[in-house]
Symmetry: C2
Subunit: 555 residues, 2 copies
């Protein structure tokens, strides 16, 4: 199944996921009212994407060029149609969408290829290298970082891996499985689940992202506390480069020299195409338990999280929202009749206020219950939160988040149609820096008209470690008509500057892409940059692999 088969240009190609699952801002009436009251205006969905087919030139790479350049491929593995070039030429970022809406279309690829085997990938890379055709590896296409962005030079081609989606091997004794990298999250899990296993990688993009992209961008899933990030799951890869194949021998662990394959993790397509990966898998867990608590301040909640982690307790999922996110989270609940909502309402209005929880922060933690020890962990966590001044809420409070864990990108789309700018910024810092980073990022937007115009910035802490935590900010602001890209760029710059100055990473799990490259280049030292360039020079002597990204200067 091509997960984009239900998409075409007229049904909103730029939107997230499955049109049948999309919803409208009106489906969240309390949230909509909240924004309208704050901004003192009605929100209308009158911002529409133009027909961008009219705005882009025809491909410079003909069917004839294709036949001559890639003789081993079949005709139906090639497309230079405007539709393909558009569908596979954009990521899913706010920046992408704003440019589509304002008709400022960046250079798009000239054609798309659909290899079905490693031999075909090799054929593509070798012939593209000979002909200096730039290649953009593409698996799910869900990036929000400008990962595919091109400059105007030379011919360029998207290598769409979605036909390479087999499970190549499974070892049920050793708990490993090898997959081709064009496989999407749900298909991968379906295959594993049928055998009683899970990979445990559930990024918010899960339904529309694929293994290759996860590996190339160092993706992190919502259950990283239990299963780790993708780089913790991978035991080995096979990668095809313009200079040949890298096929490293894998072991559970080893002391047999350098882990060469790690060069490809986070390489964002600059070195070659990862075609297969061997991954750690786990027995499916059926029983889960949520422990949910409120804290009086974000700092107090974060401190409880840090101390819990440093006690050796690692919830599978952990998410601490700041006061504003907690408040908005409650407006996202629609059911007026839910016992839960009533309960929370009652608590907030009476007991909590009297206890000083005026602007509480919600902390949700989820544990897999595999044995008594896991169960004892939940009991301990409950007591631990109480002893850190947390107020325990019913487990069911987490139900709303769990229900919507993969659907929030749909909300983004309807907000944009209502001329509401929404974007996310994520980073990771050592615990020593998280509190100041949080404040600095909030403060940074004061250098713009963001708050004056009613902009909202909120944050949650997730993907936590003994040494630090990922801070995930969401920004919502009224769009400035006809100035959307500059407005976005201004906010993005202020926030990212503040992140980097506060000791945060360019990204914890989204990656670098074109959007973060200026800051990435500030943070890597000269020696590292030259070393990576030497690695690229060796693997990709003609510089055709996703050029101009990461350490690779525009050429």
């Amino acid at each position: 199944m091509n997960r984009y088969s239900n998409k075409n240009l007229s049904s909103g190609f730029w939107k997230w996921g499955d049109p049948a699952k999309a919803f409208h801002l009106n489906d969240f009436p309390r949230f909509k009212s909240f924004l309208e009251e704050k901004w003192k205006r009605k929100l209308n969905d009158d911002f529409k994407a133009p027909d961008i087919t009219q705005l882009i030139p025809e491909s410079t790479f003909s069917e004839n060029d294709f036949s001559k350049t890639f003789p081993n491929l079949k005709q139906e593995q090639f497309s230079n149609s405007k539709e393909s070039r558009i569908l596979y030429g954009f990521g899913k970022s706010c920046h992408d969408i704003i440019r589509i809406f304002s008709g400022k279309i960046p250079p798009l690829p000239d054609f798309v290829l659909f290899p079905e085997s490693e031999d075909e990938v090799e054929h593509i890379l070798q012939n593209a290298s000979k002909n200096k055709i730039r290649l953009i590896p593409f698996s799910g296409g869900s990036n929000v970082t400008g990962a595919f962005e091109l400059n105007e030079k030379n011919v360029s081609c998207v290598v769409n891996l979605q036909r390479m989606k087999r499970m190549v091997a499974i070892d049920e004794t050793s708990h490993t499985a090898t997959f081709e990298t064009g496989i999407f999250g749900p298909e991968l899990e379906k295959i594993l689940n049928a055998k009683g296993f899970t990979l445990g990688h559930f990024p918010q993009s899960f339904e529309y992202s694929a293994l290759g992209g996860w590996l190339a961008t160092r993706s992190g899933g919502q259950e990283s506390g239990q299963y780790g990030k993708i780089e913790d799951m991978v035991l080995g890869i096979r990668a095809i480069t313009p200079n040949g194949i890298i096929d490293t021998k894998d072991f559970p662990k080893h002391a047999s020299g350098i882990d060469t394959f790690r060069l490809f993790i986070g390489s964002e397509g600059t070195l070659g195409i990862i075609t297969q990966a061997k991954l750690r898998i786990h027995k499916l867990q059926s029983e889960q338990k949520w422990i949910v608590a409120l804290f009086k301040t974000f700092d107090e909640g974060a401190e409880a999280v840090r101390c819990l982690l440093q006690q050796g307790i690692h919830p599978g999922i952990l998410r601490l929202s700041d006061p504003l996110e907690t408040k908005l989270f409650s407006t996202m609940r629609n059911s007026e009749s839910g016992g839960l909502k009533k309960l929370i309402g009652a608590l907030i209005k009476s007991r909590l206020a009297s206890k000083g929880f005026n602007e509480p922060c919600i902390l949700m933690t989820r544990f897999s219950i595999r044995n008594d020890s896991d169960f004892a962990m939940t009991k301990f966590t409950c007591r631990f939160f109480k002893s850190h001044n947390g107020f325990i809420l019913p487990s069911s409070t987490a139900g709303n988040w769990e229900e919507h864990r993969f659907t929030l990108p749909y909300l983004r789309d309807t907000l944009i149609e209502h001329r509401v700018m929404i974007d996310t910024f994520e980073t990771i810092a050592y615990w020593k820096n998280t509190s100041a980073l949080y404040l600095n990022v909030k403060e940074s937007l004061k250098k713009s008209a963001f708050y004056d115009k009613g902009g909202l910035l909120f944050c949650h802490l997730s993907h936590v470690y003994e040494t630090g935590a990922c801070l995930y900010f969401t920004m919502i602001a009224p769009m400035e008509r006809s100035n959307e890209e500059a407005q976005w760029m201004n906010y993005k710059t202020l926030v990212t500057d503040a992140i980097i100055e506060s000791g945060g990473a360019v990204s914890h799990h989204h990656g670098v892409g074109k959007d973060h490259q200026p800051w990435y280049l500030k943070t890597i030292d000269a020696g590292e940059k030259e070393l990576l360039q030497a690695v690229k020079k060796h693997l990709d002597p003609n510089g055709i692999m996703n050029p101009g990204k990461l350490f690779d200067p525009e050429n």
Copy 2:
């Protein structure tokens, strides 16, 4: 403190550790009797190392050469004495010792330098590169793989890092600490312990190995179940190469491109010198609990271990001995009066035998008790072992191992003086392969006279993961007079061939060195080898860094 300051050539420079802590085979009378009865001869300590100062040439690198080549260094940072060249020219392997004893001295370094700062390391690398002087980085010197071995060509120099042993920074909030890499295990732990922390890295060599070597060889400690291997502990490094400094920005985790520093982990000195490392640290744990059980067969014990791990239970220490190791382990207990010994004796002779535990395998697991959940884990583990046909022994049974956890290398030395060959072979394999690998290794020595001459081969499983386990074999055999090296080489080759053919890694935690290089070269593919050579060419264009190791062909 120079941990070799209590050593000189006359006190047995080739021996392990502190002469004051060394012991004699007579200190283990039951073990000695066991060997004597098996081999039907008395064991005498009449095998002595010759004075090898008589066997080696004077250095070709004079004080004058030193002053001209390394003008920034002080005179006392240089030595070309035979004593220094010998002390810092050997590792601690069986192969090293056998060659010393038989007077077959491999090429030794021409001189030793003792840098005290990163600037001095840079000075050394740049001037050595200009002058094509080969450099061997040296921190603890405890390697058992021929890691320092040289061929005859060119001048060579040991860069001894033992004066670079500061803690550079500690972050008690984020649980990280940065150390210079010449620091030995006990000093590092002492500094951290004083602040309530531990690194948690306790290889058997702990007392006489240092951080730099741990990183360069991918070391693994006995508590890897709780703290991971060294590569899991390291957040970032600073490395100096002949082509400049690699100083990567570190984060708890990130999605900001390629983890370049990982190239240095396991690089065994071939790319540069790691001068600093930032490490994850942990609160000191005071309470520990052992769960000890016997299993009827090694396979049954291994299966219980695998299933336990795959349940998400990770003991801090885990060690499953095969029947022969279990038996020898019991002969190592000296106390006749111990209640324990009596108990085990009684158990073995009556109840156990009646239950089919004729040649039992001992499984020792240790847990840190930080909270109720950890305690519940020990209860669960106990029940789990019983349900897997394990027979639970008192926790105190593990006391003997714990007492001797760092002292077994001393036993090696006294055995060799008794003309007993003793060496260890370690590997890791996926669970699917561990059982066959164990049998194949035992079988492999049948191709030699090993068993006919009374050789003993035993094994334990340790450093276990959800996906696989490290198998650690010990071989004990009577030495063939005047044929020691060939005898050793024969056994080593048979065993390592069997390991590789059975899907095992060249090493789980000892590293590659010269001894394992032939097998390492068989297991890496051409693309990987060329890529690593390109990396080396960039960082070390004159090929001076520990040349002829890993992927680097002899030059």
